[in-house]
């Protein structure tokens, strides 16, 4: 702290102040200029980030109505939530059924494609492919999802057309108990558009060419190099996609929101959408806050585990 007093000339009289509270006040006062720079940020963060987070946990113990009226009811919301075997627990299973395959797909497929682009000889082709990979990002997410709705259309859609070619009966893919979940997982096929491929490629680029070259001279084939050199070196990226995918996957209910409404029945219901419905369709803000808090605890747990894993090796995606 000493060098800090040197650049704060207003601090000349600090000797007469004893230690303790007064010196803290003095330090605070001396930092006033920096606090002015921080003031706008902390105004927004305290009011609009910290306050709602705490308010959410707090109100999960209340019967909190749409109107703002709140009555304390203890752990009733949680009791109701955890004993709900019709919607809530099945929705957690559904979440896993949708999220885990998507997670694996989004880690493996972009890696394969990244290797395919990376192993091309022509640099020009490499950069062209990298540009093309990003094209799907120019459509807003809502548009991409709605286009997939069209692809699944039982009358006009491409999937139905192909299905009919093989003599299948028309199926309403997203509205049929048998196909709704697989259809959601299949969305986005071939799952390569976006940034994952690029992040993998930049990881592959950072591996030293010498290691690769000497392995090749020792007679290692391309696949051998991929498994023994590339995979261990890009483990950081894999871990990043895994954790990030889990955290965003738990929160994602865009398909339910845009297309299925959790149906047919509760077949595609996920906890996030259940929370949305509780709050904005039934007006049960307290119950919704309990679901939100539950998801927060799960995500927090995953984040802490990831930090522990991260200590062994830095993630630099």
């Amino acid at each position: 702290m000493n060098e800090y007093y040197m650049i704060a000339p207003k601090e000349k009289g600090s000797q007469k102040f004893a230690k303790g509270v007064k010196s803290v006040c003095k330090k605070l006062y001396a930092s006033k200029k920096a606090y002015l720079f921080l003031l706008p940020l902390f105004f927004f963060l305290l009011t609009f980030s910290y306050f709602p987070a705490i308010s959410g946990i707090y109100h999960s113990f209340f019967d909190w109505k749409d109107s703002g009226e709140a009555t304390f009811i203890g752990i009733e919301n949680y009791k109701e939530l955890f004993s709900d075997a019709v919607v809530f627990w099945p929705s957690c299973i559904t979440l896993l059924k949708i999220m885990l395959p998507k997670l694996i797909i989004n880690i493996v497929v972009p890696f394969v494609v990244a290797e395919m682009i990376f192993n091309l000889k022509s640099d020009k082709a490499k950069s062209n492919y990298r540009l093309w990979i990003l094209i799907p990002m120019v459509a807003p997410g809502v548009v991409t999802t709605l286009i997939w709705d069209y692809i699944y259309d039982p009358n006009f859609g491409a999937i139905t057309a192909i299905w009919k070619l093989f003599g299948g009966e028309p199926i309403d893919w997203l509205n049929d108990t048998r196909t709704a979940i697989p259809a959601i997982i299949f969305m986005g096929f071939p799952w390569i558009g976006g940034t994952n491929v690029l992040i993998y490629i930049s990881g592959l680029n950072s591996i030293s060419a010498e290691a690769r070259e000497s392995a090749r001279l020792d007679g290692a084939g391309t696949f051998r190099i991929i498994f023994s050199i590339d995979l261990p070196m890009i483990f950081g990226q894999v871990k990043f996609f895994l954790i990030n995918g889990l955290i965003s996957g738990i929160q994602d209910y865009s398909v339910q929101f845009l297309l299925t409404n959790g149906g047919p029945g509760y077949d595609t219901m996920v906890p996030g959408y259940y929370m949305y419905q509780a709050a904005f369709q039934s007006g049960r803000m307290g119950y919704a806050s309990a679901i939100g808090t539950f998801l927060f605890v799960i995500i927090m747990g995953l984040t802490l585990i990831s930090f522990r894993l991260g200590k062994k090796k830095e993630v630099d995606a």
Binding site: A34, F37, L41, P52, S202, G292, F296
Partner: protein
């Protein structure tokens, strides 16, 4: 001398091209179908045809331009606010010494662990009380707040990387912190600020759940992605060419960014993916 092209390379190219074709086909199909009349669409939806029919696009542009303007207003104001708020704070964290710095920085970074889904409901209740639904502010403030955590994180490390000698020289010339902030940090970080701005703008462009909750009745204030879902979709049920035209119109600004600011756009996207 002719380079020898191995069979492996040819196969590699062939598979990649096939995957890319599968990837872009649905999007391209939506593009060419938006140039078809309903009759043409029923006959030939799988491939492009001439003549191009611009009616759908004019219709969609007319129906959607208000929402595009809304998004530019809301996203622009929110992004500008976010840039100011987070660059000021990043300057303090990177170049000033003050009491409680680590604690305050932890308070900022710690928010990355609070998932958006948890704060959705209580945020709505707070905004409803403080600024009211059906206002532009209820859309702008979350952009400032949500973006600034990552903004501080990114800008702090950039400002820290600037050479101390520039600042010393400025101080000798009598420059205070505000001058250092504005004349040095902001001037030198235009590229990274642009990247951050594009990230934030495309975030605002893509968001639909919050705008749909926050604007329950005054639908003319919706942003584009929300308007597509709430207004445009139900008004054009079954008429796929008009729908696709709407999708195309709503993508135009992002397409422009991709074409004219590709470097910043790609960086913004990759940053967004690294964002934790």
């Amino acid at each position: 001398m002719k380079k020898k092209i191995s069979a492996g390379q040819v196969a590699d190219h062939a598979i990649l091209l096939m995957l890319l074709a599968l990837m872009v086909y649905p999007l391209f199909m939506a593009v060419w179908c938006s140039f078809k009349s309903n009759a043409e669409f029923n006959l030939s939806k799988w491939y492009p045809t001439l003549p191009l029919n611009f009616e759908n696009l004019f219709y969609a542009a007319e129906a959607l331009y208000v929402f595009i303007l809304n998004t530019i207003l809301v996203g622009g104001a929110g992004t500008l606010g976010m840039l100011i708020v987070s660059s000021l704070a990043a300057y303090a964290f990177a170049r000033m010494k003050f009491f409680g710095k680590n604690l305050l920085f932890m308070m900022v970074i710690g928010l990355m662990m609070v998932p958006a889904i948890m704060t959705l409901v209580p945020s709505f209740m707070l905004y409803k009380k403080m600024v009211g639904t059906d206002t532009y502010l209820i859309l702008i403030i979350p952009i400032i707040t949500g973006g600034s955590v990552f903004g501080v994180f990114l800008l702090k490390s950039f400002f820290e990387g600037l050479s101390e000698s520039i600042f010393e020289a400025a101080r000798i010339d009598g420059a205070g912190d505000l001058t250092c902030y504005w004349q040095i940090c902001i001037r030198l970080s235009v590229p990274i600020l642009t990247t951050l701005a594009i990230m934030q703008l495309s975030g605002a462009w893509n968001d639909y759940i919050w705008p749909m909750i926050a604007i329950p009745t005054d639908t003319m204030k919706l942003t584009i992605a929300a308007a597509i879902k709430k207004e445009f979709l139900s008004a054009n049920t079954g008429s796929y060419p008009s729908l696709f035209a709407g999708y195309l119109i709503s993508s135009v600004p992002l397409i422009l960014l991709y074409v004219f600011a590709n470097k910043f756009y790609v960086e913004g996207l990759t940053n967004a993916a690294v964002k934790f």
